[in-house]
Amino acid sequence: MKEQQKIQHLYFRACFGIDFNELEQQKDKNLKKVLKEVFEKNSKIKNIEIVEKPKVENRNNLTEQEKRLLRKGSRQKIKNLNIAWLKQMAEPEYALREKMTLFWHNHFACKTQIAYLAQKQNNLLRKHALGKFGDLLHEIAKDSAMLQFLNNQQNRKEKPNENFARELMELFTLGRGNYSEKDIKEAARAFTGWGFDFSGEYVFRERQHDFESKMFLGKTGNFNGNDIIDIILENPQTANFIVKKLYINLVNDKFDEAIVQELATFFRKTDYDIKALLEKIFSSDWFYEQKNIGTHIKSPIELLVHYQKFFGLDFEDDRSWLFIQKVLGQILLYPPNVAGWQEGKNWIDSSSLLFRMTLPDLIFGQIEVDFNSKDDGDADTEGLGKRAAKTLQAKVDWSKITKQFLVHPQEEIAEKLQVWLLSLKPTNILENTQSLSKEVFTKNIIRQLTASPEFQLC
């Protein structure tokens, strides 16, 4: 395999693809050096700070009308957060960190109606995206949006609520079958009194906490929530569970048991160092094997980031971004439930595939969209995925795109574009339009390549 293809593969999986010029510059470089650069140059932190901290107030004193206005304002702010994040993913200096923030958003899937809390959680995920998994887990367990979403605010000594404890084990760490119902009950007792106040900050309500002895995963003691998390982190199953999910997401949805085992052992030995784990994955030979190239079905968000990144695409009306997310089944900050989005083949059915393959005609052309998103029935999110205009035509600077190819003869351009945009060679016959200007020709080929089934993969 050519070094260039390996570099492209690395950028597809670790980031959100690579610019054409950069690929041209990097293609003769040593892979190890490129990998080092990815971790140095593409993992900067930029917090999203567009929602101000709300005034401290007791919402119970508000009238229905005031509450409704507040909710409406908050919904708009969450949409703004969605767009701001989507755009930040396309910026190269943050790409690796944002890719992992997206991974953790799907892992610790959470929804909130309070925009400030959504922003706060998002920045928390970003902060630890490449750090220690243990730190991330400890902080997410004290995160207000999560405590609210999984009903821990209602978890009191007299009447424990098991929701958080259950999902902590089933979805966040151990996976089904590695704990008992009794373990859930005992862990729930340890998290009693963990909540948040009106300002959205974590509080420990001592009077609601159960200080008695608990028996959890074979250990006995006066455990609190922190102890429970530490016991979970000592369990080898936690590393297995996280590594397997990462492997499926970053390498191949058919996982290799031996490799997962080896990586899990490494993950535990490094005290759950996410960055070290990623470096190990991306520097291994098996990562670049043919069977792992071009097999990943892009999530709708990955697809949209690719459109931005490759073609500098943007819309007059931001709602177009939300409309496409809705139609394709993935709206940032609105995961379907605590289990997150079902990835891989689940993204593709007849209608989502047709829409993906028609999308280039809609955004690069002027065709009217005869396609609607489904109303999910929730009056609160009504309009979230409503189409903004009759067309989805985007703003694209074609001369800027074409400029990158001016040095190449026309007969090479199609080949160059394909090698840059796709991991696999498409089976379609590109329509030959040699007599056109370079700009029209380039546009034409891009429309054809992005409409291919192969563009849905990377």
Partner: protein, 394 residues
């Protein structure tokens, strides 16, 4: 020129021809006439207020809990001595009077979830409240049936996007607004199955398989679907037209077992009365036309219609002339050969609430299990995972 040839020669496509491996050769439209049984599923999205749909007009608790929202006894369309329909549902009352309707009260599931998405997921996947499944119950029905009849278009959703209920592991249903639009969209994707292909990844193969199925299904449905005359008036709104499309496809004898359509807007937290009246009227009129249409053409004998919503609403009204998310709800089954007609069970017990919410008495999966066995002739085990007792209504 036949449409098939036209499709192959069409030069309108904006993109090139997709060459697909020959082993994925497109499904060829068969000319078999459908003889099996059908199921139509109608989803009322948003959580329809069941207590103002089937009204317990002799119950003081109902009137006390809803001083400004309760439907006055005088205007209730009485079905028996204690329950009756919302006044907008006169057409549904006709179906009831003709013995074509069975009403189930207090349908739900253990540990009810009050989130729209989650509760809808539970109804779609037929999971337990604490369980997350990635396939739907109809999707798993398609999977189970795949050995003898493996076609995506065995299940059609009248919409632009496909619901989780329709997604299986191996087979997923198809979503389309109507055959013409679907065909128009798919025909640009020219495919050519005449190349032999080298080895490809499973996911690439999956994409090409989906594409091929989509294009050939669109072609088959478009060719076989014939405009059928009807003297019945369907409401001009989108929901009415979707049900009309369904009746037309059934009358054209298309090889489709499941049809799915949704009507949304039932999340009535605010000013419920007008909204719900409009929606229930729309539902009632469209369903009546569909049932009569199928009856006149002799297709009702083989067709069953299920109507559900993800949850009911709380018993008491809220401060905004609306109702908030609740738990169990009523559910309708319509068919020509019901063994149980009218009410399946007693009215909900408003004196035995769980923190202001109705307690469920029938798990919806008992109803699914019965439909799977009696209407779709499939064992429930592989679809529902465990055994739910069948109920006696079919």
């Amino acid at each position: 020129m036949k449409r098939r040839e036209f499709l192959k020669q069409s030069a309108l496509a904006s993109v090139g021809t997709w060459l697909i491996p020959s082993f994925l050769k497109a499904f060829d439209g068969q000319n078999t006439n459908f003889e099996g049984k059908r199921l139509i599923i109608i989803q009322l999205s948003g959580g329809n207020d069941g207590l103002n749909t089937v009204i317990p007009f002799e119950n003081d608790i109902y009137y006390n809990a809803r001083p400004r929202l309760a439907i006055p006894k005088d205007s209730v369309l009485k079905l028996n001595t204690e329950q009756g329909f919302h006044p907008a549902m006169s057409k549904m009352k006709q179906l009831y009077d003709e013995g074509l309707l069975c009403i189930f009260n207090s349908v739900g599931y253990p540990n009810p979830d009050r989130s729209h998405f989650r509760s809808m997921d539970i109804w779609h996947t037929a999971s337990d409240s604490q369980e997350y499944l990635s396939t739907g119950w109809i999707g798993r029905f398609l999977d189970t049936n795949c050995e003898k009849n493996c076609k995506a278009f065995s299940a059609i959703e009248l919409d632009d996007t496909l619901s989780l209920a329709m997604k299986g592991e191996k087979v997923k249903g198809l979503a389309m607004q109507n055959p013409e639009k679907f065909y128009k969209m798919a025909k640009n994707k020219k495919i050519n199955a005449n190349i032999s292909h080298h080895h490809i990844h499973e996911n690439v193969e999956y994409l090409y398989k989906t594409l091929t199925e989509t294009v050939s299904s669109a072609e088959y449905i478009y060719e076989k679907n014939k405009i059928q005359k009807t003297n019945l008036e369907y409401p001009q709104n989108e929901f009415g037209q979707r049900l009309k499309t369904i009746s037309q496809m059934i009358k054209s004898n298309l090889d489709i077992e499941i049809y799915y359509a949704s009507l949304s807007g039932f999340d009535t937290h605010v000013n419920q009365l007008n909204t719900q009246e409009r929606l229930l009227g729309m539902y009632s009129e469209a369903v009546y036309s569909l049932v009569m249409d199928l009856k006149q053409s002799g297709h009702l004998d083989n067709t069953l219609i299920l109507t559900f919503s993800e949850f009911g609403r709380r018993v008491a009204q809220n401060a905004s002339l609306g109702t908030d998310h609740g738990t169990s709800n009523n559910l309708f089954i319509i068919g020509n050969s019901l063994t149980k007609k009218g009410f399946y069970n007693q009215a909900p017990k408003l004196n035995l609430l769980d923190e202001g919410d109705l307690k469920y008495e029938i798990d919806f999966r008992n109803i699914y299990a019965t439909i799977l066995k009696k209407q779709l002739h499939t064992s429930q085990q592989s679809i529902l995972g465990k055994n739910f007792e069948e109920l006696y209504f079919l």
